[in-house]
Point group: C2
Chain length 384, copies 2
Amino acid sequence: MDKVRLGIIGIGGMGTNHARSILEGKVPDMVLTAVADIRKERLDFAKDNLSSDLALFSDGKELIDSGLCDAVLIATAHYQHPEYVSYALTHGVHALSEKPAGVYTKQVKEMNEVAAKSDKVFAIMLNQRTNCVYRKLHEMMQSGELGALKRVNWIITDWYRTQAYYDAAGWKATWAGEGGGVLINQCPHQLDLLQWLCGMPTKVRAFCHEAKWHNIEVEDDVTAYLEFANGATGVFVTTTGDAPGTNRLELTFEMGKIVCENDNLIFDKVSENVSTHCKTEKEGFKKPDCTRITVETDGLNEQHIGVFKAFAGRILRGEKLVAEGAEGINGLTLSNAMYLSSWLDKTVEIPFDEDLFLKELDKRRATSKIKQDAGIVFDTTGTY
Amino acid sequence: MDKVRLGIIGIGGMGTNHARSILEGKVPDMVLTAVADIRKERLDFAKDNLSSDLALFSDGKELIDSGLCDAVLIATAHYQHPEYVSYALTHGVHALSEKPAGVYTKQVKEMNEVAAKSDKVFAIMLNQRTNCVYRKLHEMMQSGELGALKRVNWIITDWYRTQAYYDAAGWKATWAGEGGGVLINQCPHQLDLLQWLCGMPTKVRAFCHEAKWHNIEVEDDVTAYLEFANGATGVFVTTTGDAPGTNRLELTFEMGKIVCENDNLIFDKVSENVSTHCKTEKEGFKKPDCTRITVETDGLNEQHIGVFKAFAGRILRGEKLVAEGAEGINGLTLSNAMYLSSWLDKTVEIPFDEDLFLKELDKRRATSKIKQDAGIVFDTTGTY
């Protein structure tokens, strides 16, 4: 294989963006050969606006079976991600899934089991892991130089969306069509990064507010409290209702504090492990000395292109992925736990009861109303 | 009356600080005439180190009855604040209480009832209300220019204390002696400011961790989730275990966001009410325009001296207090609600069951162990 022949299943906002990137040659190891969508107007759009050379399919599985693609990107509605990934991997085609991995962990666990038995590559679009700031933070936390994690506080409220955003697509922000709101659509990146950096919490207490700022079925405002195995605590706050909003991640360690905001890492480094200092210092109010360091990174932040390049690199040369597909379940576990905690109005331990979660989700799907589709596909460039 | 003759009841760390300020003439309308303490060594200290002219009392009520004082400052252990305030006000002496107003609201409510019937002045040492930054914020929020409050997030984790701090005084950080930890000792200022700025929450869900960073009985790490009557939500995080820690208050409104940190107020002001914009904007991702403003203040921050000046001014000339004594119950209501939520492991509505709170507190007092007192009084200058 010289270049990976890619097919895109689901040519809405995100799928179209990705198609353009490949067609513009941003991923040298890849060519776009086919697109699939259940909506005829999107196929017409693709033919007229993307490339007239593309093979068009109204069924993603036909695209997979066509022999025209070595790999597929799945950019359908969330519920269908596991179905198409599993179909591709069992039909000789590599799969890259958009986030989230699925809507409920039970479904994703089954997909991961299929993937584990397949020799095809399975990746997931967790493009924020390519950001130099998070990569550097991950490296520092893995190195042990920071001591134990004590506290994390992520205010990620800069996901502003207007009512028009929700009205544009019938499946969006419905339990039946999308399976949730800001947690399932906007936050998979941060929830993945949170567990990638800090490990998985053991307990979650969340407060999800539905239709708080928009006329929608699902949550658009969430505050969650977390506890980790070592006793560290956390807060995660998100919404699509605030402007300008905030994206500020504060992490407190025995060796100081790191704040990640505006693509900077500011490290307030203490001269002595705080836990040791607390026990040995004779003065009551004296803190260890502290030095402020602006942490340098390699400055690279390839985002989606980085994920595509690594995906092609794995297929062609066995290189490292940005995120293994099977890791997509971790962030989803967090959002599922937040929903369940809020629905049950109590603290949820991880692992939680997946059957109970699905039962609760199905209750909401049963009364969910898919809206009239306005047929608008927004240009999503630079919004994720 | 030419000058207010002040007596200080409780001449520990805070009482000593205040005594020095008065003796140094920082409050022109006041003279210090007497001090009281149950500890003979503190009276000896006062005589030798403060002023040999001071009348000394081993009983605060004798000081009140002595006729040497027009007003008293109560700086005893927290449980005794209401008792001495009530005694002063019913014996013809004006009272200024250190924070907190007491340990449980039931006790403070009784004190407030006594105060309501007295013609003497009752004030409370909520000195952070003199800070220009909080005064300006209060003024802006009261003016209505910011629209409705949507969200508040206060990370106040710069209250670092060493184990030596807790070991120094036997009553500190015990249920029986102090009645709590970081919420009752360090945070009354922030809890008062929170309700002063945002109004009282209607629901509280808190997670108080006892002895997490220190060898103490009480909590030294708290995360609380709040809900307000208008639907706004909040997060309050505090600890005495972090260094360097953070003091960052973020408030989100329909007209933008204000961050209060490092004695600055940064206002990200949007061009249009976010709630209106959300409904009318045709683009899905477009935020209203935003301008960053560094809010100017009058720069005045008198702290304790400001509270004393206003207290004397009220007594002598009927001027405005920094904080009416009766308002002390508000911040205490918040901390009581946080304890109760954590003890019961569930959300608590405000007003909560005060008898239940006292029953739960008394359980903890019953098994509480007042420690051996190391007899150390730290210089607290600049630590509050």
